[in-house]
């Protein structure tokens, strides 16, 4: 645990002065607090003695109150401030590091997981620093100061008060752990419940069409009940703790009453001291109770810290190490030379000895079944994944020689998943260069057949898309991401299956626009449709990571291979029996 927490030290170090001031101020505050019962005892004993001069203790209390206020305020503020600063720094590092990760990392880490780290784990570390140090200080100071004053008043009684303390500590620790489990359970059940509602309301048409309302209401009843149960259980544990804690502390009170009472009766202790003991015992019980919670907080913070550093200490997946002398402008000649690639040692190679040379200005369509390696090939070109040096070349130089910024700005790739940011359309379309003029953006939108759609929106290019704005259809989204690629007018354009949700007429229109705009420039695209492939200079058929056929539309038809078969099926349609994957009908 301590080793994990120690990793936080470099982040805490810049604020050590602040944190130190806070800790010292806490000590002063506790000392002042310890003086109050002593002054009270003094006053009570004077009253008993019939002395009406209580000026000193009363003024003393007032003075102590003011001193304590100043000290406590300073202490709490400084400590909390340190926690906030550390959280700030951690967030920055996390963000920066995640931005440099690529598909390798995100194939094993979900975004949800990263968000949990950014929110929950940083929150825990922040609480650990802010509260943890407060708690630690309360624990140390209050037990020392509290026991110190008590020992001064009555050593025997003080020792008699010790036995219940471990129980208080362990009970607090146990119940806070139970509480943690119970509230996690409540959170899980609550998220089940929202999932259920979300799922139902978004599928309401199907549910009603299938007359499933009653079934679903019944099913919801169970989810609802499970949540209620979890909630009840949490409340129960909470209530038990609220009941037990004062009972354990009461053992101390009874000891004071019993032992202390007789001592007073025998004249060995003053009434004032007896009263003071009741105050001090609170001062001592509190830290033991808090310590129970603290142990858990520390443990959870240690786990959180490990999880955070797992990300913060990551190296960038694709490092930028440009070699001097690469030309500033890419012409667009591409070569794959004995290119093989595997995502990890266990799985089969995604690409296997690919050899392909693409002339500058050529247009290529890559086809092949799911999992043939089409996307992998494109990703290697822009180094979203890192190829072995020398296996992918642009204008005769390995892609790894180019600065990443240059490579990606001159090879515009439109990924398969049409992702749009929850922002104005304009900002989405000119994402790479935010200050680009409107005219080229409209041109790109026109080429992507998006003009009329945008003109249909009241706010045109300023229309916000996504959850908080207009929801675009799948086809509209694809066309928007296409426009985002076109607007860059890059020497190489790479389109990864960007027409799947666009209807054929529109696609036809866009393809002819592409032909016009991309004349003399290299264009690579992935598609399932022969109608798309026909338009390109050459077609590459991939299967299981290998190149099956390469050639023009006519050449491949003549060849009578996989492409010709695909063309026939798509032209005529076919019975399923024509194309029967192994075990289709068992």
């Amino acid at each position: 645990m301590w080793r994990s927490l120690k990793r936080l030290l470099p982040f805490i170090k810049p604020y050590k002065a602040r944190l130190g001031l806070g800790v010292v101020a806490f000590g002063v505050a506790r000392l002042f607090e310890g003086l109050v019962p002593l002054l009270l005892a003094l006053a009570i004993d004077r009253i008993i003695a019939g002395n009406s001069n209580l000026m000193a203790p009363v003024l003393g209390i007032f003075a102590v109150v003011m001193g304590r206020y100043a000290a406590v305020t300073t202490a709490r503020y400084q400590v909390r401030r340190s926690g906030l600063s550390v959280a700030f720094d951690l967030r920055q590092s996390l963000y920066q590091n995640l931005q440099q990760q690529g598909s390798q990392f995100f194939s094993t880490h979900s975004i949800g997981d990263m968000m949990t780290r950014a929110v929950a784990d940083i929150g825990l570390v922040q609480r650990f620093i802010s509260m943890g140090s407060i708690l630690l200080v309360i624990l140390v100071y209050a037990t020392i100061v509290g026991f110190g004053f008590m020992l001064y008043l009555n050593p025997t009684l003080t020792l008699l008060l010790l036995p219940p303390m471990p129980f208080i500590f362990y009970y607090a620790r146990w119940s806070s752990r139970e509480m943690g489990i119970a509230s996690k359970d409540v959170q899980d059940r609550l998220s089940d419940l929202s999932d259920h509602v979300q799922e139902n309301l978004s599928g309401i048409r199907t549910i009603q069409a299938m007359v499933q309302e009653e079934n679903e209401i019944k099913r919801f009843g169970r989810t609802n009940q499970r949540y209620a149960n979890a909630f009840y259980r949490q409340a129960q544990i909470n209530s038990l703790m609220t009941a037990w804690m004062p009972s354990l502390a009461a053992i101390c009170s009874i000891t004071i009453l019993g032992y202390g009472g007789f001592q007073v009766l025998e004249g060995q202790m003053t009434v004032g001291a007896l009263v003071a003991f009741f105050f001090y015992v609170n001062m001592v019980v509190q830290p033991f109770r808090v310590a129970g919670f603290m142990v858990n907080l520390f443990q959870r913070a240690a786990v959180a810290s490990d999880r955070l550093f797992e990300v913060v200490s990551l190296e960038p997946e694709v490092a930028d190490n440009p070699v001097a002398g690469t030309p500033a402008l890419i012409k667009g000649q591409i070569e794959f030379r004995d290119l093989s690639f595997a995502y990890d040692a266990v799985r089969d190679k995604a690409l296997n000895e690919i050899n392909l040379s693409i002339k500058s200005g050529e247009s290529i369509t890559i086809m092949g079944p799911v999992g043939a390696g089409k996307t992998t090939l494109l990703k290697l070109l822009v180094r979203l994944i890192e190829p072995t040096p020398g296996s992918v070349l642009i204008d005769g130089r390995p892609v790894t020689d180019y600065p990443l910024a240059q490579l990606r700005s001159q090879i515009a790739m439109v990924p398969q998943d049409p992702f749009l940011f929850g922002d104005a359309l304009r900002n989405n379309l000119t994402y790479d260069t935010p200050d680009r003029g409107l005219e080229p953006i409209w041109d790109a939108a026109t080429a992507a057949d998006l003009r009329t759609t945008i003109e249909g929106f009241p706010e045109q290019m300023q229309t916000v898309v996504g959850e908080r704005g207009v929801t675009l259809s799948g086809g509209q989204k694809q066309r928007a991401t296409l426009a985002r690629g076109l607007v860059r007018q890059a020497p190489v354009l790479v389109l990864d299956d960007c027409f799947s949700s666009v209807d054929t007429e529109t696609e036809e229109h866009i393809l002819s626009e592409l032909k016009r705009l991309r004349r003399g420039q290299t264009t690579l695209l992935v598609s399932h449709r022969v109608s798309t492939a026909r338009h390109s200079d050459r077609i590459v058929m991939l299967e299981a990571g290998r190149i099956l056929e390469v050639g023009t539309h006519e050449e491949l038809l003549k060849l009578g291979g996989a492409y010709a078969e695909l063309e026939r099926i798509q032209r005529e349609g076919a019975d399923a029996s024509d194309y029967e994957p192994a075990g289709a009908f068992t």
Binding site: P57, S103, T206, F220, A243, S247, A250, G261, Q570, F585
Partner: protein, 633 residues
């Protein structure tokens, strides 16, 4: 656009924002009623627990210090009979009064803890049960709103009523419970204090308005800050989430530095607000503890003044009646009980505010009363329909000013397979939505086996029509659950048979748990094509007399495409089928083709007839002859 417009007015109507709205609380009571006995028990127990809790300091100060140690006696000491009880106990058990007091203290502590625990548990159980019922009723209400309602609302906003708003009510009722738990001891303690010494009690009470004022000031000063902290924090998370979701685009566009800068700005904003909040909170937090210490000083100062001016009185302190040493000590022990409720009240006000608004939103949702018009005396359909469908002069629009369908008339014969084609927005989808009775339709415009659709109960109708929509909905549950849909008549074997027929069996049996594999809407563990096949299996298992299908537009790889076409052929065999077709194959298989344009029937006939007509269909067909797929939408 044939889509209905979104309308936000439903959500914004009449939130009064009142702090306490009694008519609303009364309405809330309706759900609490079944649990009123538990609630009553809980209320009695809080009184018991509070009283016992107040007696504990009485034992320490009045009984032990005042009576046993100092020998104070007097009938006017408000000890609630504790001195008497201690003496009785001491006499009957023949033990020292001090031991008796310790024993009594122990019993009171145990009693207070037990009563308190049962009080809290019973309170929370009645609240949980009541709100569970409310949530269930709300869900039932929302689940049965018609499709036309969901056209106009954003699902997310409806959803938060069932989740967040009910959550806020939990907070409200729990908060009220906490306040009761604070204020009952407050009043018991106050009564005892007044009985001991009125002037001192009044002086101490003066602190309450001060604390209340400071609390109020603090709350209003920080309310805006808290909101800013929440806002910046959520935009921090949103920014990161979006950046990660679109990371590939970010990297491909070289936007890393720019985005980091944006993030840093939000992070700095957030830190600024957090620090200001921390400053206020620390100033306020220490103020409350200090007041307790000041009160201690005031009590002592008052005691000193009493001794100085006191006339020889009835007690041995030389004080005036009532304020004995035990009394003074009791006062010092009661300070917390006196001051704490006001602090808690300050904490709870914000929650109360929010919860009141939530409560209004929940009732507002329960009052949404849009519904499909059901017939008074529905026609009982025969066990097996023939499947004749007639559209007769059907006109329809989602809004009064936009006509989507314009005088549509045609017949579909029993067992016929009809493909509908036409451009986007021509009203194809609206046509099948009306047939599935998602909307109220004009009387006398759609007939099923000669019966007006308006005379059939919508649920009865829907169980006869199998609808496959473009956006296939997966219910969370196993694959088998998704095929059988809770129909006990569909056995596992039947589900498998259906899956085999529509070519879904292969991929299902390749899943790790086969038919027992859990699916989730969000998990998206199925591909588009697989979802489509599963939807077919579901419809086939239900074996409806009529099939309505809105073909998915997304292009699917050729192998899956072929499986889908084959499945569709089996599905439509001997079944009246209405298909919105995007694919050449589907159209070729149809008995007749209906060409739809701008809400009107443009052409209707067999493929050959339409080609001979040389109209819109012939044009589309030429395009499709040239193209491998026809996608007219």
């Amino acid at each position: 656009m044939s889509q209905p417009q979104r309308d936000h007015s439903l959500f914004d109507a009449d939130i009064s924002g009142a702090v306490l709205n009694f008519s609303m609380l009364r309405r809330l009571l309706h759900w609490m009623k079944p649990y009123r006995l538990t609630f009553a028990l809980s209320s009695v127990l809080i009184l018991v627990a509070s009283t016992l809790q107040v007696l504990l300091p009485v034992i320490i100060s009045l009984v032990v210090i005042g009576h046993i140690i100092r020998g104070e006696t007097g009938s006017d000491i408000p000890d609630l009979g504790m001195i008497e009880l201690t003496n009785q106990l001491s006499l009957s058990l023949e033990i020292h009064p001090l031991w008796a007091a310790c024993g009594l203290y122990t019993l009171l502590q145990i009693g207070s803890s037990v009563a308190g625990h049962i009080h809290r548990v019973t309170l929370i159980s009645s609240v949980i049960n009541g709100l569970r019922d409310l949530r269930q009723d709300l869900f039932r209400h929302l689940e049965t709103r018609p499709a036309s309602f969901y056209d106009r609302v954003a699902v997310g906003r409806v959803m938060t009523r069932v989740t967040n708003d009910i959550e806020a009510l939990f907070e409200l009722l729990r908060g009220l419970g906490t306040l009761v738990g604070e204020f009952v001891p407050f009043f018991v303690a106050l009564g005892i204090m007044l009985a001991i010494d009125v002037p001192l009690t009044l002086i101490l009470l003066c602190a309450l308005p001060i604390m209340g004022g400071v609390t109020y000031f603090f709350r209003s000063a920080t309310r805006k800050l808290f909101r800013l902290v929440r806002q910046t924090l959520s935009s921090l998370n949103q920014n990161m989430q979006e950046n990660l979701a679109g990371l590939q685009v970010v990297q491909l566009s070289g936007r890393e530095d720019h985005n980091l800068e944006t993030y840093t700005n939000i992070n700095e904003d957030n830190l600024g607000h957090e620090v200001r909040t921390a400053r206020w909170e620390t100033l306020y937090g220490a103020f409350n503890d200090s007041m307790a210490h000041i009160a201690l000083g005031v009590i002592l100062w008052y005691a000193a003044a009493m001794i100085a001016t006191g006339e020889p009185g009835t007690n041995n302190l030389g004080m005036h009646d009532g304020l004995s040493l035990g009394g003074i000590i009791l006062f010092t022990r009661f300070i917390d009980m006196l001051f704490h409720p006001i602090v808690v009240l300050g904490e709870q006000t914000n929650i109360l505010f929010r919860a009141m608004a939530s409560c209004e939103r929940i009732f507002q949702a329960l009052d949404w009363d849009e519904a499909i018009r059901e017939p008074q005396n529905p026609v009982q359909l025969p066990t097996r329909l023939k499947g004749d469908i007639e559209f007769r002069h059907l006109s329809f629009g989602y809004d009064a000013d936009r006509q989507i369908l314009d005088d549509v008339s045609f017949n579909i014969n029993a067992g016929e397979k009809l493909a509908i084609v036409g451009p986007t927005g021509s009203g194809k989808s609206t046509l099948i939505r009306l047939l599935s009775r998602f909307y109220d339709i004009p009387n006398g415009s759609i007939f099923l086996d000669g019966v007006d659709l308006n005379q059939i109960h919508s649920q009865d109708l829907r169980s006869r029509i199998g609808v496959v929509l473009q956006d296939f909905h997966i219910f969370s549950g196993t694959i088998y659950d998704n095929i059988a849909l809770g129909d006990p008549n569909i056995t596992q074997a039947m589900a498998e048979e259906a899956a085999k027929t529509v070519n879904a069996h292969t991929f299902i049996s390749q899943l790790p748990q086969g038919y027992a594999t859990e699916l989730s809407e969000r998990g998206q563990n199925l591909s588009q094509g697989q979802r489509q096949l599963l939807a077919f299996a579901r419809v086939l298992a239900a074996d409806p007399e009529i099939l309505v299908l809105d073909e998915a537009t997304a292009s699917i790889d050729t192998a899956t495409e072929l499986l889908i076409q084959d499945a569709l052929r089996k599905l439509t065999a001997n079944r009246t089928s209405v298909l919105i077709a995007h694919r050449l194959q589907t159209i070729q298989e149809a008995d007749r083709v209906l060409v739809f344009e701008a809400g009107r029937v443009k052409e209707l006939g067999t493929q050959e007839e339409l080609l001979a007509l040389d109209g819109l269909y012939a044009t589309l067909h030429r395009l499709q002859f040239q193209e491998p797929t026809l996608d007219a939408s």
